[in-house]
């Protein structure tokens, strides 16, 4: 293992020497961020290699407006909110789902399938599934919706907050942060969309995209590969997560997504409105769309005062640059979602790399 680490490090060194400037590599996915911190990878990187955490934590990129919609629905006695655990602590303008959990209106589920089961078990309530996540979770949501439709489970609906990874990368490069030299692309999303999906970034923006798994060695070798390309002045599409990621991805899952969802413009925290970046239920499933069922219009929400999650998500600042970091914003009293989610950059910094500040 050590030999492979050394090899990757020498590629990084060589790139820094060739380019004679800091190299900014963005890890798009929150799972990468956590693994990088948990394994102390930053501390092993040669000088000049800088990692930026990207917009790949599903909870973090979810717009405040969406959160507030969920909280409003949680107020209704006829609704039961089914949500992934990560979401329940995100603060909105009216507390968080966790504070509502005691009223029995909120249940944590591990999958969309569990949410559907809740609907079957509670026929007198409308189950609203808080459907967030990238292409890793959207196929499962689609399956649940299709099943609800076939079985006629009318008291089930979803509030789709599903997002697509590639449009966010495109949006970053076309405006918010063009300092990004290359992307370390997420393994599990690539299993679904295929590494071919990133060719748009490689060809359109000339940035290397390397897909890697979440093991520390994969990440280090991924960074090595990126640096090899940067030193040579080329931008290529490459997957080093060959065991599970193919160029086409999982076409069955893609088909299920296509059957249920239309690609639409949508709001992201920090990135604003991005063209063709979110998934909305197709008209034929509109019955299962919480927005339509409860007649809600989507509006972008306002970020909490002082919270710089938006900039964190774009890789523009590091969490300690936020004045609230580790002061009033801490995991137990989080102000923004990046501190709430276990995959959020602020939480990872706080947990694994906080300056040795007294608690």
């Amino acid at each position: 293992m050590l030999e492979r680490i050394y090899k990757a490090q020498s590629l990084m060194n060589a790139a820094y020497e060739t380019l004679e400037r800091q190299i900014n590599i963005m890890e798009v996915c929150g799972t990468h961020t956590v693994s990088i911190f948990r394994n102390g990878i930053r501390s092993t990187l040669p000088k000049g290699i800088k990692l930026l955490s990207g917009p790949g934590c599903p909870v973090c990129v979810t717009d405040q407006g969406y959160i507030d919609t969920v909280l409003t629905l949680a107020e209704r006695d006829d609704c039961l909110i089914a949500t992934y655990g990560d979401m329940i602590r995100v603060p909105g303008n009216m507390g968080s789902l966790e504070t509502k959990q005691s009223s029995d209106n909120v249940t944590v589920v591990l999958s969309s399938e569990d949410a559907l089961q809740l609907a079957k078990d509670n026929p007198d309530k409308t189950i609203v599934f808080v459907a967030v996540g990238f292409e890793t979770t959207s196929p499962a949501t689609a399956v649940a919706v299709k099943e609800a439709a076939t079985e006629g489970i009318d008291n089930f609906c979803i509030l789709s907050g599903h997002k697509l990874v590639v449009p966010a990368m495109r949006a970053l490069l076309s405006g918010k942060n063009d300092k990004i030299d290359a992307f370390l692309c997420p393994g599990h999303v690539s299993v679904i969309i295929g590494f071919g999906a990133f060719s748009e970034i490689v060809e359109g923006f000339g940035r290397p995209c390397v897909v890697a798994g979440f093991e520390p060695l994969q990440i280090i070798e991924g960074l090595g590969e990126i640096c090899r390309q940067l030193a040579k002045g080329v931008a290529e599409l490459k997957s080093i997560y060959t065991a599970v990621v193919t160029e086409q991805g999982n076409t069955t899952a893609q088909k299920i997504i296509d059957e249920c969802f239309d690609v639409a413009d949508g709001y992201w925290r920090g990135l604003g409105k991005i063209e063709k970046s979110t998934l909305k239920l197709k008209d034929k499933y509109s019955h299962f769309d919480a927005l339509k069922r409860f007649n809600i219009t989507e509006t972008p929400g306002e970020e909490k005062k002082g919270c710089r999650c938006g900039e964190v998500l774009c890789g523009l600042i590091e969490p300690p640059q936020c004045k609230l970091f580790a002061e009033s914003c801490r995991p137990e009293s989080a102000i923004g979602p990046c501190m709430v989610s276990s995959e959020g950059a602020c939480a990872a910094w706080f947990k694994y790399d906080r300056e040795k500040k007294q608690n």
């Binding site: 293992m1 911190f37 102390g40 990878i41 930053r42 655990g85 996540g133 520390p216 694994y352």
Partner: protein, 339 residues
């Protein structure tokens, strides 16, 4: 009048005939010992040491039964371990049961049997106790409180103030087994059957360690908050920093997989049959060998050492790939992540 019921009724805690039956038929025969048989208001104990350790803990685990144990075994082992790591030999426990009306007798009997088995195996007596019943909904099935007394081992005096730079940190086996078993069972994870709680009383092993060597300085059981919490407590308490090596921390691979799946850090996950011992560098190997020679210490390992503090006392880990990071005091409960 005799009422037969296969469920606990409120009257079972009422102090009347039903309570009496419950105690005489279900409790006393299982925990036979002189102090208890008297059924007096308090137990009279003869202790061989002038100084004792005294502790209490309450158990509200869900699910009540899990692979490797149940709430009964846990309530005995947990309190025994608290006594053991304080440098004492556990001798007697008091048992308090709070039972929800409607709880099945069959389950109660299983739990009581498990309590008596754990007590016997760990050579402690259940010398007194109390039963209360509450209306349905006022408790979740059964809550258990145990209080325990341990005789302090002569010549042993553990404390943060004894800890010095260079001391070694020992753990007596794999971490995270208990917590991951409970979480997986609760979340219905597929391979839950492969996980098993480490629930066990470490009194026997700690007694050996404390009597056969002279250089154990501090011990603590890494329960809630896991190894991360315990190491941070040691660091704060001693005012020194701690460095550990990931490669040396024993972890059962299934526990690691389950934790990865749910996005948990195994360092933060609870243990129920483990202790962390801080020992002098000279005695570290001897301590390790004593542990490894015991059933509950086969996978014991020296995981790191106490070092000079830089700025403030902190716990740092060297990861498998040679990176370094801080190990924080865990906060609140961990939430499974989305994907």
């Amino acid at each position: 009048m005799k009422t037969k019921s296969d469920k606990i009724l409120l009257a079972h805690g009422g102090g009347g005939q039903l309570s009496d039956e419950l105690i005489r038929h279900h409790i006393v025969p299982r925990f036979k010992n002189d102090a208890l048989s008297e059924l007096a208001d308090s137990a009279k104990l003869k202790l061989s040491s002038e100084s004792v350790c005294f502790t209490t803990d309450s158990y509200v685990v869900k699910p009540l039964f899990f692979n490797g144990g149940d709430i009964g075994k846990l309530s005995v082992c947990g309190t025994i371990n608290d006594l053991a790591v304080a440098g004492s030999k556990p001798v007697a426990l008091a048992l308090g049961l709070i039972i929800e009306e409607g709880f099945e007798f069959e389950l109660l009997d299983t739990i009581l049997t498990s309590i008596s088995k754990a007590a016997r195996e760990n050579k402690v007596a259940i010398v007194t106790g109390d039963i209360k019943t509450v209306e349905a909904g006022a408790a979740d099935k059964i809550f258990i409180n145990t209080a325990g007394i341990g005789e302090r081992i002569s010549g042993v005096d553990l404390g943060f103030e004894k800890i010095a730079v260079g001391d070694k940190i020992i753990i007596n086996g794999t971490i995270g087994d208990h917590g991951m078993t409970i979480i997986s069972q609760r979340e219905g994870i597929k391979f839950q059957s492969k996980l098993k709680s480490d629930c066990a009383g470490v009194g026997g092993l700690s007694y050996q360690l404390l009597t056969k060597t002279k250089d154990v300085k501090f011990m603590r059981d890494p329960t809630r908050g896991g190894l991360a919490a315990t190491l941070n407590e040691i660091s704060r308490g001693s005012g020194l920093s701690i460095e550990i090596r990931q490669a040396d921390i024993p972890i059962n691979p299934t526990v690691q997989t389950a934790a990865d799946m749910l996005g948990f850090d195994v360092l933060n996950i609870a243990n129920e049959g483990k202790f962390v011992a801080v020992v002098s560098p000279e005695s570290a190997d001897k301590c390790l060998n004593i542990c490894r020679g015991h059933q509950l210490g086969k996978k014991a390992s020296i995981i790191g050492e106490v070092v000079e503090r830089s700025d403030i006392p902190a716990v740092e880990i060297e990861t498998l790939i040679g990176g370094k990071r801080i190990v924080q005091m865990p906060y609140g409960r961990e939430l499974p992540r989305i994907c």
